[in-house]
């Protein structure tokens, strides 16, 4: 039996960090599946990385800037029409604080 890589509690905690409500049933399923996935991906530890630099991209990245010139933006009404809720030309969000 392989060493346990991920517990139910850890799955629930990760889901919370990702702002993802999960059911007990999903936690059970994900814990089993993620454990087998992590067991498999853990084999990258075998790779000898002498002399290799980790890369986040496969092309050379440089910072891209453009002249600070005002240009047209998206149409406000069109954008707000796609929002779940809008009020006074702004996005309306549920209350931020848990308590009054």
């Amino acid at each position: 039996m392989a060493e346990e890589k991920i517990s139910r509690e850890e799955v629930a905690h990760l889901a919370h960090l990702a702002r993802l409500e999960v059911t007990d049933e999903e936690i059970d399923t994900f814990a089993v599946q993620l454990e087998s996935i992590l067991e498999n991906v853990a084999k990258i530890a075998e790779v000898s990385d002498a002399g290799a630099t980790p890369s986040s991209h496969n092309v050379t990245m440089t910072n891209v800037t453009r002249p600070d010139v005002v240009t047209a933006s998206l149409d406000r009404d069109e954008v707000l029409a796609q929002a779940p809720a809008a009020e006074q030309d702004r996005f309306r969000v549920p209350r931020i604080l848990d308590e009054e």
């Binding site: 991920i6 850890e10 799955v11 990760l14 889901a15 919370h16 960090l17 990702a18 702002r19 993802l20 409500e21 999960v22 999903e26 399923t29 994900f30 599946q33 993620l34 087998s36 996935i37 992590l38 498999n40 991906v41 853990a42 084999k43 990258i44 530890a45 790779v47 990385d49 290799a52 630099t53 980790p54 890369s55 986040s56 991209h57 496969n58 092309v59 990245m61 891209v64 453009r66 998206l74 149409d75 069109e78 954008v79 029409a81 796609q82 929002a83 779940p84 809720a85 996005f91 969000v93 549920p94 209350r95 931020i96 604080l97 848990d98």
Partner: protein, 505 residues
């Protein structure tokens, strides 16, 4: 009358340009075909009939002035639902975006429209491009036109099925870990992942930003080249877009078909002829290798020792980037909102919305990505995966010191039965072994159909097998050269085109 839906894009473009037919007629023929077969196939999530006919009429008007903008003017195309299309529903296969009408348009679809192409509609896909079977679409799976009990592959499964079922002459998809090449292989069409950065990601709903690559899918190599040429090029709106010229892929496609590949050095990647490769797929691959030799290529075996770690690196990097990219679906500015009853907090509404809006594969990858990036694991997993990515790139560089292109089977299996994807995700992930190295290195790679393999489950006729051709960065033309030579030899041998072998729908 000629069946316009059986013609290639280059033939249609020429017929429209010469006035032999019109874009409106061609578009109508495809809309009729969709009407006839798409209930069974499910390739489209949204068909924009009126918009398409209006665009077709505009294309006809332009052609009549003698100013056709490209050889594809008036030719219809299917667009994967990952591309943002202004005023046309765009969902990325997710409930999260159901009913969303984007206020802007992707660069790639803008360029195709400027080339005079006509968008037929939005093609079905795995939710947020996560999957290899198209069964993770929130709006139902797509059937493989060769056998409706089989998956077409994923995540560009709708695009692939639309092309192979003659519901569109060409399509565009996105390839993150193989999502163009694998469905192309499983449905018997050509699919190309261009060099990363040569086709813009502006307006492509992001899955894994360092890997996502828009690309063309078509029924032959020349059409694939024509679409790639039309969609590619530097885009100042995408900071990862390369300011480099795109090679002449159309010229290479014509050259490969006409002159073959005498003297070209081809390396068979030993490390991708691995466990899980179905014997019938291997037999087709071996026959194609033989054929490449007969065409005058020098074929040798090459070892790329880190390719075997591609799956592990990919399934750490892609979910990590996805967990970050998908944070934008927070119920505030667009998409779904659940639980906003005036009592719950923003955080509760966000969590409930994401629970309701995302399917299991997306949740699994968000959690996996959150894990790989969390303190204590980031060195062990994410950073190590980034190192493997460098080593895979170094393997490619070393191999391309000796050979001009690398080849492998595109997928280790033929199309598998519908209904298996979500029970054992790991086994589905392992099937991506062959396509992932080119994704991680950002090199161009094409899948071209090479033959049919006996169906291991034996519930239908033989199923398509694809061969993958990988080339160095910005040498996409080499994929076209080899793909076109193989295609010409195959068509000559069987006296027709590959999809002539498909059962009638």
């Amino acid at each position: 009358m000629t069946d316009l839906t059986r013609m290639t894009a280059s033939e249609l473009g020429a017929m429209i340009a010469s006035g032999e037919t019109s874009s409106v007629e061609v578009t109508r023929a495809h809309l009729d075909r969709i009407e006839k077969v798409d209930d069974e196939i499910g390739a489209y999530l949204h068909v924009s009939a009126e918009r398409a006919l209006a665009a077709a009429k505009a294309a006809d008007d332009t052609v009549r002035t003698g100013k056709a903008p490209s050889p594809l003017a008036g030719v219809p195309i299917a667009v994967k639902d990952a591309f943002v299309t202004r005023g046309v529903p765009t969902t990325a296969g997710s409930r999260m975006l159901e009913g969303w009408l984007p206020p802007y348009e992707s660069t790639v679809t803008t360029r195709l429209a400027e080339a005079g192409m006509v968008k037929l509609g939005k093609a079905n896909m795995d939710e947020f491009a996560m999957g290899s079977t198209n069964e993770n679409s929130a709006f139902g799976p797509v059937a493989n036109p060769w056998n409706p009990q089989r998956t077409p592959g994923g995540s560009s499964g709708g695009s692939a099925a639309a092309v192979s079922a003659f519901e569109a002459p060409v399509a565009i998809g996105t390839d993150t870990g193989g999502s163009i090449r694998q469905p192309a292989a499983l449905t018997g069409i050509v699919g190309m992942k261009p060099t990363y950065g040569t086709s813009s990601r502006y307006g492509v709903i992001a899955f894994s930003s360092s890997l996502d690559t828009p690309g063309p899918m078509a029924r032959n190599v020349l059409d694939t080249a024509l679409v790639q040429a039309a969609m590619s090029g530097h885009d100042p709106r995408d900071s990862t877009s390369l300011p480099a010229p795109v090679p002449d892929v159309v010229g290479a496609a014509r050259l490969g078909a006409a002159q073959g590949i005498s003297g070209l050095r081809i390396g068979v990647v030993r490390d991708l002829i691995a466990e899980g490769l179905q014997p019938a797929v291997k037999a087709q691959f071996d026959a194609a290798v033989q054929q490449l030799g007969d065409l005058g290529a020098e074929v040798t075996e090459v070892s790329c020792p880190h390719f075997a770690y591609g799956v592990a690196a990919y399934y750490l990097i892609a979910p990590s980037e996805a967990s970050s990219n998908l944070a934008r679906f927070d119920s505030v500015r667009y998409g779904l909102r659940v639980g906003d009853d005036g009592e719950r907090s923003l955080e509760e509404v966000m969590s409930m919305t994401r629970e309701a809006g995302f399917g299991p594969e997306v949740k699994r990858r968000i959690i996996l990505g959150t894990y790989a990036l969390s303190a204590g694991y980031v060195d062990q997993f994410y950073d190590k995966a980034r190192t493997v990515r460098s080593l895979i790139t170094a393997d490619f560089d070393a191999a391309f010191g000796h050979v001009d292109v690398l080849i492998s089977p595109t997928s280790p299996t033929v199309a598998y039965p519908l209904g298996t994807a979500n029970t054992d995700p790991l086994s589905v992930y392992l099937l991506d072994l062959t396509t992932l190295p080119a994704s991680l290195a950002g090199t161009p790679a094409m899948s071209v159909p090479i033959g049919l393999a006996e169906d291991p489950v034996a519930d239908g006729q033989p199923l398509p097998v694809g061969l993958q051709i990988m080339a160095p960065h910005l040498q996409d033309d080499r994929c076209y050269l080899v793909g076109a030579a193989l295609e010409a030899a195959r068509d000559h041998a069987c006296g027709g085109t590959f999809l002539d072998l498909a059962p009638a729908l």
